[in-house]
C-alpha cells in the first residue's frame, strides 16, 4: 500500500496535519464547500453560458462582415451578400434562437443554482450537519449565495454584452427593431439583472418550500408570469407620443419618428391631410369611396397623401425602459433576498 494512504486506505491530504489544527471556516473553505456541493450545476451553467456567448459573438462577427460588404446599412433586397442572413438556417434565425437561449438562462440559474441551495439541504436533512459546525448559519448562507451570485453575474454579464453587440449589428443588417420582442428583452444588461433576480427567487422559494420540486415548479410559473407581465406592461412605462404617418407606410420606423420606435396604436380614428389637418369623413368618402359608396379605396388614400395618427414610444426611450425593467428585477431580487434572510433567521433545527 502506498505510503500516502493510511491504514484503512484514506488518502493523506496535505493540509491535514496529524492532531488538532486550527484555521478552518474561512472564505476559501466555504468556497470549497460551495464548489463541491454545486459543481455539477456550476460547470454545466458556465459551459452553457460560454457556448451561448461564443455563438453570439460568432454570429455577430459574421453579420458584421455582411454589414461591411453592404456599406454598414441594411443590405438591399436580393443582394448576394445578404443571402446568409435569411433562410431556415440563416444568421438572423440562429441569432433569434440564441437570443431565446439567453432569455432562458436566468430561469436556469433560478432552477438549478438557486432552488437547491436550501431546498436540497432541507430535503436531505444536511442543514443540521452544516449549521452545527463552526460556521454560523448566516455566514454559511450569505457566503454561498455571494459565490453563486458572483458566478451567475459573470456569466450573465458575458452573455448580456455579447447579445447586445449581436442585436446592434443585426439591427443594421436586417433592420431588426430593438424596442420589441426578444431584441428588447435580452438587451440593456437585462440578462445579467434577471439572472441575479431569479437566482435569489429560486433560493427564496427553496427556503420557503423546503422541497426541490415544488420550488422548481413555482419558479417556472413565476418566470412565465413575469415574462407576460413585462410584455404587457413595458409599452406603458411612459405616456406614448403621437405622430402622423402616411397611410400605406409599410416601414417599421416611419420617416420623421426616428428608428426603433415601439408602435402602441396605429391607423385608427381620424384621418389627416398632408398638412396635418383633420379631414372630415364626408370629404374622404367623396374623394375615395369605391363603387358601392361604403368602402374606401386604399390607393386613393395614399395618392391624396392622407395620414393617420400613430401612438408610439420613441427609440430614444429604450435605455430608460431598460433601466425601469432592471430596477423592477432588482427589486424582485431584493425582496427574494429579504425573504431568504427572514426564513433563515426563523429556521430552527431539531435533531429528531
Amino acid at each position: 500500500m502506498s505510503s500516502a494512504l493510511t491504514q484503512a486506505g484514506l488518502p493523506a491530504t496535505p493540509a491535514a496535519s496529524p492532531g488538532r489544527n486550527h484555521g478552518g471556516a474561512r472564505l476559501a473553505d466555504l468556497a470549497w464547500l460551495t464548489w463541491r456541493q454545486h459543481r455539477a450545476a456550476i460547470i454545466a451553467g458556465l459551459v452553457l453560458a460560454a457556448v451561448v456567448t461564443a455563438g453570439l459573438l460568432y454570429l455577430a462577427a459574421r453579420i458584421t462582415t455582411i454589414n461591411t460588404e453592404c456599406g454598414n446599412t441594411e443590405c438591399p433586397t436580393g443582394a448576394a451578400a445578404a443571402a446568409p442572413l435569411f433562410g431556415p438556417f440563416g444568421l438572423a434565425g440562429l441569432s433569434g434562437d440564441l437570443a431565446l437561449a439567453v432569455m432562458l438562462m436566468p430561469l436556469l440559474a433560478g432552477v438549478f443554482l438557486g432552488v437547491p441551495l436550501l431546498a436540497r439541504e432541507h430535503e436531505q436533512r444536511t442543514l443540521l450537519l452544516a449549521w452545527s459546525q463552526d460556521i454560523t448559519p448566516q455566514r454559511w448562507l450569505w457566503t454561498k449565495l455571494a459565490i453563486l451570485g458572483g458566478l451567475t453575474a459573470a456569466a450573465g454579464a458575458a452573455m448580456s454584452a455579447a447579445v447586445a453587440h449581436l442585436a446592434h449589428v443585426a439591427s443594421i443588417a436586417t433592420g431588426l427593431d430593438l424596442f420589441s420582442g426578444l431584441a428588447f428583452l435580452v438587451t440593456g444588461w437585462l440578462p445579467l439583472v434577471q439572472s441575479l433576480a431569479w437566482l435569489a427567487v429560486g433560493v427564496a422559494l427553496g427556503a420557503a418550500y423546503r422541497r426541490t420540486l415544488p420550488a422548481i415548479f413555482t419558479t417556472l410559473a413565476g418566470y412565465a408570469a413575469a415574462y407576460y407581465l413585462v410584455q404587457w406592461l413595458y409599452p406603458t412605462f411612459r405616456a406614448p407620443l403621437t405622430g402622423l404617418v402616411p397611410i400605406g407606410n409599410n416601414q417599421s420606423s416611419p420617416p420623421g419618428l426616428g428608428s426603433n420606435i415601439l408602435v402602441i396604436q396605429s391607423g385608427s380614428g381620424t384621418i389627416y391631410d398632408a398638412a396635418g389637418h383633420p379631414v372630415s369623413p364626408a370629404t374622404i368618402v367623396s374623394l375615395c369611396s369605391s363603387g358601392s359608396g361604403k368602402l374606401l379605396s386604399a390607393p386613393c388614400l395614399v395618392q391624396h397623401h392622407f395620414m393617420s395618427l400613430l401612438r408610439y414610444q420613441p427609440g430614444s426611450r429604450i435605455p430608460e425602459f431598460h433601466l425601469i425593467l432592471a430596477g423592477g428585477y432588482l427589486a424582485l431580487g431584493a425582496v427574494a433576498v429579504g425573504v431568504v434572510w427572514l426564513l433563515a433567521r426563523r429556521t430552527s433545527l431539531s435533531a429528531g
Binding site: 463541491r36 436531505q124 452545527s132
Partner: protein, 300 residues
C-alpha cells in the same frame, strides 16, 4: 464537574409543550443515557443544548457556558464545544467519505484530523465511496467521525443506534466507550430502547412528557430500587418511596426506592426482594409518570 446543566428549561411548539421546566445536572466525562418514550422531548433537549433551537424559557449550560441559540457561533474553546448527530445521520450523499472529512476540516476552527481518521480506520470505511452508497452502519461511522473530529467536549447523539444491526451497534458502543475513556469527552446518547444501553451508559436521565423523572448514576439507581413480592398488602413491608404497586389477587408487588441501599433477600415473613433491571427501572418510572398525565387528560 458538570457537562450539561438545565435550569427551568421550557420549549413550546405552539400549544404543545416539548420540555416543561426541566432542571437537571449531568456530570462530565462519561456516557450519559438520555431515555424517554417517543415525544418525551429528547431531540428537543439535544437541539437546544447544541444551540440549534431556541428555548422558550429557561437556560442551559455546557461546561458552565450558557448556550444561546441567537448567537450560533460555536466556541473555539474545546471545553465548551458541542457536536450533535441527528437521528438520520445526515451526510452529503454526493460527497465521498474523504470529502466528508475535508468538510469537517474546512468548516471547523478546531479539527483533529487524526482523531477523525482513526475512527474511520477502526471500521474500515472505504474512503472513496460516495456517502449515498454507504450502508446505514457506515453512514453512522462517517457522521460520528465528523462529529468527533470537531473535538467536542459534549457529543450529543440522538438515537445513534437506531437502524443499526446488532453487530454494528455493539461496535459503535464499544468504540464510543473507548473514545470517551481516551478523550475525556461527555457523550449524551438518547434512545427509547433501553436494551441498547446495556453496559454502555454510566449515568441516566429519564424524560417523560418533557420533564426529568429520574436522574443519577445507573449503578446507584439500580442498587437503590428493589422489587418486593408478598401477600396482598396496601403498603410494602419496609420503608421506602413506592414507585409502583401492583396487586394481583392475593399477591402484591411493589417497586420501591430506598435511599439507604438494597434490602436482604427476605425482608418480612412471606415477602421476597429482588433487584430490578435497567429496563424494568425505566419502564416503571415511565408508566408511573404516564398515569397522572392520563388521569389529567381524562379529567380535561
Amino acid at each position: 464537574m458538570i457537562a450539561l446543566e438545565a435550569r427551568e428549561l421550557t420549549k413550546r411548539y405552539g400549544s404543545v409543550t416539548a420540555l416543561n421546566e426541566c432542571s437537571f445536572q449531568l456530570p462530565a466525562h462519561g456516557i450519559i443515557a438520555l431515555v424517554g418514550a417517543n415525544g418525551a422531548g429528547k431531540s428537543t433537549l439535544m437541539s437546544i443544548a447544541a444551540g440549534l433551537l431556541p428555548a422558550t424559557s429557561g437556560e442551559i449550560f455546557v461546561g458552565g457556558r450558557r448556550v444561546d441559540a441567537r448567537h450560533k457561533n460555536r466556541p473555539a474553546d474545546t471545553a465548551h464545544r458541542v457536536a450533535i448527530l441527528g437521528q438520520d445521520k445526515p451526510l452529503y450523499r454526493e460527497f465521498s467519505v474523504a470529502d466528508m472529512l475535508t468538510f469537517g476540516r474546512r468548516t471547523n476552527r478546531v479539527w483533529d484530523e487524526q482523531r477523525a481518521r482513526s475512527w474511520l480506520d477502526r471500521f474500515e470505511i472505504p474512503p472513496g465511496r460516495r456517502c449515498g452508497k454507504l450502508s446505514g452502519g457506515q453512514r453512522a461511522q462517517v457522521a460520528l467521525a465528523v462529529a468527533i473530529g470537531g473535538c467536542p467536549a459534549v457529543l450529543l447523539l440522538d438515537e445513534p443506534l437506531a437502524n443499526l444491526d446488532p453487530v454494528a451497534r455493539s461496535e459503535v458502543t464499544g468504540e464510543l466507550m473507548a473514545e470517551v475513556a481516551e478523550s475525556g469527552m461527555t457523550v449524551i446518547l438518547s434512545t427509547h430502547i433501553v436494551a441498547e444501553l446495556a453496559g454502555v451508559g454510566e449515568h441516566l436521565l429519564l424524560l417523560a412528557a418533557g420533564r426529568p423523572v429520574l436522574a443519577g448514576n445507573i449503578e446507584d439507581l439500580l442498587a437503590s430500587h428493589v422489587r418486593l413480592t408478598g401477600p396482598h398488602a396496601d403498603l410494602p413491608p419496609c420503608p421506602g418511596e413506592v414507585v409502583q404497586a401492583h396487586h394481583n389477587g392475593r399477591q402484591s408487588t411493589f417497586i420501591i426506592r430506598r435511599p439507604d441501599g438494597p434490602l436482604p433477600a427476605t425482608v418480612a415473613p412471606g415477602w421476597s426482594s429482588a433487584p430490578i433491571t435497567l429496563e424494568e427501572l425505566t419502564l416503571t418510572y415511565l408508566k408511573s409518570s404516564a398515569k397522572p398525565r392520563r388521569a389529567l387528560e381524562a379529567a380535561a
